[in-house]
Subunit: 164 residues, 2 copies
């Protein structure tokens, strides 16, 4: 974990963690924390960044990431066996979750079970940023097949929302 | 997890989780989510509440809680083997962490390793609210002995800060 301040007076714990403060810099960036690509490659997403706030450790095998979608952007339409717990931190937007589209506002929390199609979009003309909790050991996302997309598009509201 | 909306059209995953949205109501309370006591008993804390946003599951054995300290209040001065990852969501305040006192502002993140004395105080005259990630399986907090307190008080800044 990149940090702006660590405190050498405090011994590391048995997991090698240091007491530290990761300072919020401005506009949902943190001091000395890399602003990363959402994914290393692909064309299934648009205008979205990733910051890893906590990368997990043996006793807390859970990562905490902050994703931010610029106005008009979106995450990948995907599903996977692992679950997500998401909290909106900045702005508002929409999520396609399973079979429906829902508006999301700041501090709303979304629970995405395994095997559930989902996609986030910044549809409100403002940046849409959210925390996402995820297991450090997890399966890779699955993209929809043409048959999956045809099935999802049977609902006209979903057809109008999803981006592939 | 209490939720205002769950979506029956989406099958539960193998962990029994449902697709759901926990709506932020107002002022860092969530719809239908109980506002809990910080701890069931004790006199080592003051004016602090707890809300459990996510209670963990087998694949993500990590709970996400929101604590809020009213102006002038504080959490318990304690330490334990388990780690905390904290993100300030509301207002500002201060933390005693290991051997020093630090100011904290909104969206600052604190990493508290195992075995580290810590205490949060709402010292800025405003509510001080923060997320706290913690393992679902964890040891109980230890309170300082009179000898521990004497030791901590050798630093006058710490002596002035801590509440026991």
């Amino acid at each position: 974990m990149a940090t702006a301040e660590t405190f050498d007076a405090v011994k590391d714990d048995k997991e090698g963690c240091k007491a530290s403060i990761l300072r919020h810099a401005r506009d949902f960036t943190w001091q000395d924390l890399p602003l990363l690509r959402y994914k290393e490659q692909g064309t299934t997403f648009k205008d979205i960044t990733r910051q890893v706030l906590f990368d997990g450790c043996s006793s807390v095998p859970t990562a905490l990431r902050y994703f931010e979608i610029a106005p008009g952007g979106h995450s990948t339409l995907e599903r996977h066996d692992h679950i997500h717990v998401v909290m909106v931190l900045r702005g508002e937007g929409e999520v396609f979750l399973g079979s429906e589209v829902h508006r999301l506002a700041t501090h709303d929390i979304v629970h995405i079970p395994g095997g559930t199609w989902h996609q986030f979009r910044a549809t409100a003309g403002i940046s849409f940023g959210f925390l996402c909790l995820v297991a450090t050991q997890r399966d890779r996302p699955q993209l929809p097949t043409p048959e999956d997309i045809e099935c999802l598009r049977q609902n006209p509201l979903v057809a109008a929302f999803i981006r592939t």
